[in-house]
Homo-oligomer: 188 residues x 2
DNA sequence: GCGCATTGGTTGACACTTCAACCACTGCGG
DNA sequence: CCGCAGTGGTTGAAGTGTCAACCAATGCGC
């Protein structure tokens, strides 16, 4: 399983700048998920991923989405989503039902209780995201972060599955009032 | 467990720019760990975290570090590290031994087999990191990434535990030839 | 209309992380 | 020198993610 004993090509080692940037990125990727989940677990007994699932449903038309569509929007594999939705269903936050037109498909629907939970949880979560990420960055850095993450995602997730749902300039004018996709209160 | 029913303070919602940057960051944080581990698992049957542990040991004086020091350098909790090191020890890549001066402390030492594995694996890993992250960014963006991640880490990890070990300008001149801390071949 | 590959989704087993409890040791206050 | 709080580390149980296997339904080729 060794990589390749012979020196096939000179390895383009990282220089100090690259190394420092990469080590910090790695540290952030390691630390951020836990930090995000802590606040949500305390306030709503939800992991960040669970919140994400509920939030995406809360924004969908009819608060309903096919499992595979939901998986794309949440960057999850289908098995993972299936397990999580089952747990959320047991808590009465989500309901599953078959799709009449294509009976392979399972639709996930946000219940009123699930909606209420998202509505109650969103403000605190937005505040938390703001205080962790955005408050420490200048306006230029937010734009830079946007560009950089877009570039990296292109290479990590070639199909660009997720991520580009809310990039459409349609609502750029109105100013979407959501983090992770908080519910749009007006449509409630 | 609802967040806070009453409208205490107006929630500073995210605008379109902030939201887009945040959603991409969240997606990246979700997707990157798996992508990183895949390559290492294929080439060396190591998760990214396991590689990180071996790499940090490979750079330490005498290739040895106390468990708690190693935990800091790898952004891990002590229980997590303890489990992982036990597995690595079972594979003969690491050895544990008591510390004579403070008998509470456990020292973790990289075995020759562990060293060889890191040496063989590092080039492929560096190439992978380069192709995933750095090749898609301009030189300016690498610096921006450095600044942005530093700012975020300040807020996530107030104690700044890890991360600042290799920021010291001492070796900026020599150009450390490491990603995640690959072994410094010259010292071998 | 009959195969058959493909899609959508679920399940169970296994691996890993987290959390709380716990033990051993240190070092400080009296 | 004793008691005790704090540190360093390990362990086992419980929760979560991943992977492979599987099933049902679709729709295409013929």
């Amino acid at each position: 399983m060794r990589y390749d004993g012979a020196m096939t090509e000179p390895v383009p080692w990282l220089d100090a700048r690259e190394r420092a940037a990469w080590l910090r990125l790695a540290a952030m990727v390691e630390l951020l998920p836990g930090t995000l989940s802590q606040q949500l677990e305390r306030d709503a007994d939800l992991s960040h991923f669970e919140y994400y699932v509920l939030a995406m449903l809360s924004e969908a038309p009819d608060r309903t989405l096919a499992m595979s569509a939901l998986a794309q929007r949440t960057n999850a594999t289908l098995p993972r989503l299936s397990h999580v939705v089952r747990r959320l269903e047991n808590r009465g936050l989500v309901e599953r039902s078959g799709c009449p037109t294509d009976r392979r498909v399972t639709m996930a629907h946000l219940t009123p209780a699930g909606w209420d939970l998202v509505v109650d949880t969103a403000p605190g979560h937005v505040r938390h995201v703001r205080s962790l990420i955005l408050d420490g960055l200048t306006s230029e850095q937010v734009d830079q972060l946007h560009e950089i993450t877009a570039a990296i995602l292109d290479r990590i997730d070639p199909r660009g599955c997720m991520v580009d749902f809310y990039t459409d300039p349609a609502d750029t004018a109105g100013g979407t009032a959501a983090a992770d996709g908080a519910p749009e209160a007006k449509t409630a």
